[in-house]
Symmetry: D2
Subunit: 338 residues, 4 copies
């Protein structure tokens, strides 16, 4: 059980709650997340008088520690939060946001070439990894800071917003210095330290769903970021791990409308990781928009078969053109703009 | 390894292959599926001369017993097979086929009422279970033959084709006497006896994917039906079993375009079982059509909250109207008609 | 909701319950499973007076249609049911039951040779498929009745009980004429028609867990058999389908002690299908006995690399000898006999 | 493709390989993991002369970047690596290592009480979380450094080795200052930054399998640690995420013997997280030892129902006594000592 204090509460009001719990002989811990103070009752105790706690000054509500989505719960009539993507674009409004680019930033020339191509075709942001999480320690781990510089150069030249991954608490400041949106990858969705760290800075965060994360865990990972002070979280469905083997992952699109029912956070879809196959990217992009996604993040490379990473699931510039052309009708049917 | 004989081959030509295998000291079994004769080499033997076998008269090809999709493999330029749905409709062509109706046939009045409603809103076939597979033996198992009669009555009155489940080899003839399309449910996708039985009659078969069936197993289940002589198989994705719990199943839509790449069989989607939640049926119907499905099968009941079975995932007549209205734009974007 | 009638209730007493439901304006269906009569309330109705129903004569209890394990629920102090395996052995008592033999019955000579070998090493029953469920229609489907005859011959010669699969309602009588135990395979665990059919005859049934069956569904499949009149069900854990790929299935052994807490049915483990790898059979057999299994069913072939089916997971006679030798210590530690 | 340099190679020899790749017009990246230098060919190129590379001086071998388990591959005749657990115990030898203690370190008194109890009953190490990864930001996150101090106090008093989790690169030095073994939890198994960080210090690392990690990914996570210089990795199976719901996770024990076939790393089992139910801990502990585990890590609390975290899966001191008593026979059968 948790006692959620109103953010405007004083420390005296917190102390009052704590005293009540002492009187009730309850074990508890005070948790200050940055944006919130809650008191968790850690030692279940039949002697707790719930209604007395509920009536204490500045107690917002009593909840369960496993089920709180305080920051982004959707009430009747609420709209999806619109989150800036760099200076000119945004995500979560009527206009769909298409983020495109290579898996890894390989060189300045290549990232520029793809940036120009996707910009011309309608993308509003450029993706590309400078720090790469890899399954094997003997695989390319990204160019690091030089990769970030090349991305920044691409932004200068094209106006695209930059979305790139951060993998480590100590790198948050560095990456935030270059990027418009910090990506937390699937491997780190359960890394609460990193979630809190990106929550303590102000750039929006693109949070990818973990390989086997439940919807509840996905929303609570977003809550970690928001509880640390950053309300700008973009969710991303990118496929889950199941028994299926013909695809790399199982793209579980029903999460898109379900998130819309429960939360005000925008949600986009990554059909590249979500299928692991270049020829499934186009149809699954259409499906994502049809069920309500606010945008897409797509791996695009000028020569996919030569991509250093994720070659099988990356599409070329021409395939991206075809995808964007076809997308128009589905955007219209979904009452969205492209 | 299997030696696939040309369907026009004679028994003498089969005998010739068998003699060659005897000479090679190979263990083998002759398998006659009805529409096909193959010789499976059951005892792996390094002494087999594959090219000699390939050149024998009327040997169509040498394959692997685990990987043959002979009957519906898609070659370059092949179209999806168009399969009749009763006398006036079909599935697999440009026009999307919408199948709708209650989970169970509850009474003649109710099935008629829903039949009229869905017909008016654009459905071309009526679904409804007279024989119901249930997890518990203490749950309603369906009205049996009277339910089939009520369905036939609904066809007379509305012109809708009838899709209904058959669960048992001995019932195939009975159900085929009433239905336009025989449904093989998910629980029976691996029931090879039933697959062969529906393959030996001429009504089209709607084959639902098993809860944990791989794509390969799904296609091989269709192959069982075709190998017994019936080429009219309609595939249906209806969700798979994963760790996700907020939905009843995980609707794995990528199977739709993948089936299109591999097979000429039409494929439809069941968003009702695929999500288990009424409010996810509409967005996931749109997603299904967006990624290329040839149709939908949807649970509709005049009063969903009163449905005897599957109440949570059933939509009402008004929700079905809204779904059909919204579907128009997505059908157009997918270059299909409704 | 279901109203469970006492098996000794009369039709007048059933009629009384039905009249009460009519008075309450409830929709209901009377379900007679053979061994039980229950009334399912199919139309949820707030006007139902549950306590009045509970007090009606010969109403055993009110339950949920999804959660009843009536026939084999374990009460305090209950023992596991001991079920005969042929004339001299049994399963569920202090002595562990080891069932061994090839995946398929390939020929009379081969089945006899393995029967003698496993008998000598301590097996009490012989397994072997005469009717084989196969993923592909172009794979060997078993020798059928001749295979059953060879199994019966092996019983005559060795005294081993015969365990063999039945795949189709119409074959139940045939297979029961030869076998001591009828096996319902994983592919048919959800085939309620077959479950009822084996429940209407008297030979014990070995019920294998479905590839993606929950524990509840597994126990309800057993309930189908018992509800049709046959109390002698042996459960078998044989691995479930998960994202794991280094094994054919994931052997989920925790189901063994959980079944012991919930049910009086005996449960055995199939480490051959449960892992799909010959070299994992021995350690996982030990683990199964250590966590309380009542026996094992193991694929054994005189030359595993030549087995027509399941060659990768089959062990040879010498490996079976080694397994049985090592098993002794674990049986003792588990306070069981071998 | 990767070119693995011999650890004794010089930079001139690396330069020689790099020049050869330049001549072959291959794209490549030099990766220095700390303990290893490899050259990854990132741009697939048909012009690569593999045998020339293999013969270059100090090239150890050519491999695939996705499949290398270099540091702990098991060759014929290799034994499991024996890794110290504090000053007097070890893991991986003939003696089983039992690690026990509460989920969270709650207070100095409580941790001391449980430490004394589990020491007396045969545990060799004490577990307890001072930094706790939690799904919700509003749940107790651990006492931090004071918790570490209490653990150190418990070591002084009992002689038990201390196993405790580290969640963040910057905390590695701090935690290593108190602990005998650093635990990397399941949520961080894919956190390559943390893996490298614990690989750059000298305390042994207990690596728990990720919720949906394949065996390959699990071994590659261990490789990250070893590639950074620390060979002392203890693997831990703790259950995977599947469709099963009656347990918190599915304990996938077959990984134990499979790891033994492939790797020289010791592996232990966590039946507490692996099942999530106190009454399954004892039977699954026995199963783990029966299939070859080198030890167990078990959640024990003096009053499990009062535990602040993981109350459902924690056993009390008396249950731990019963477990240890019963374990003796299984250890003997497995030819191990307790």
């Amino acid at each position: 059980m948790i006692v959620v204090m109103d953010p405007c509460g004083t420390s005296a009001q917190l102390q009052h709650v704590v005293s009540m719990l002492d009187e009730m002989h309850a074990g508890y811990q005070v948790i200050d997340t940055g944006a919130r103070t809650v008191v968790e009752i850690v030692d279940s105790n039949s002697g707790i008088d719930r209604s007395r706690l509920e009536q204490a000054p500045m107690v917002e509500r009593i909840g369960s520690s496993g089920d709180p989505v305080l920051a982004a719960a959707r009430g009747a009539g609420d709209c999806t939060r619109e989150i800036p993507l760099g200076k000119t674009a945004s995500i979560g409004g009527r206009k769909l946001a298409i983020i495109a680019g290579p898996c890894s930033v390989e060189s300045e020339d290549r990232i520029l070439e793809t940036a120009h191509a996707v910009k011309e075709l309608g993308a509003v942001a450029l993706r590309g990894g400078a720090f790469k999480p890899r399954t094997s320690p003997y695989a390319f781990q990204g160019h690091g800071e030089p990769g970030l510089e090349w991305l920044a150069r691409a932004r200068e030249k094209t106006g695209l917003a930059i979305v790139t991954e951060v993998m480590r608490c100590e790198h948050v400041e560095l990456v935030a210095g270059y990027a418009d949106v910090l990506q937390v990858g699937s491997r780190n969705m359960h890394n609460s330290q990193l979630l809190s760290a990106v929550g303590r800075q102000t750039k929006p965060v693109l949070l990818k769903r973990g390989w086997s994360a439940t919807l509840q865990e996905f929303l609570l990972a977003a809550e970690y970021i928001m509880a640390s002070g950053n309300p700008n979280v973009i969710l991303c469905e990118r496929g889950i791990r199941t028994f299926e083997q013909y695809t790399r992952n199982t793209l579980a699109l029903a999460v898109v409308p379900e998130v819309k029912y429960r939360s005000t956070l925008p949600i986009i879809v990554d059909p590249s990781h979500g299928t692991g196959k270049a020829d499934l990217v186009q149809p699954m992009s259409y499906a994502a928009i049809a069920c309500g996604a606010d945008g897409l993040i797509i791996e695009v490379h000028r020569r996919p078969e030569k991509a250093w990473t994720d070659a099988f699931q990356t599409i070329g510039h021409e395939q991206f053109r075809s995808l964007m052309t076809g997308l128009r009708g589905f955007a219209r049917a979904a009452d969205r703009e492209l």
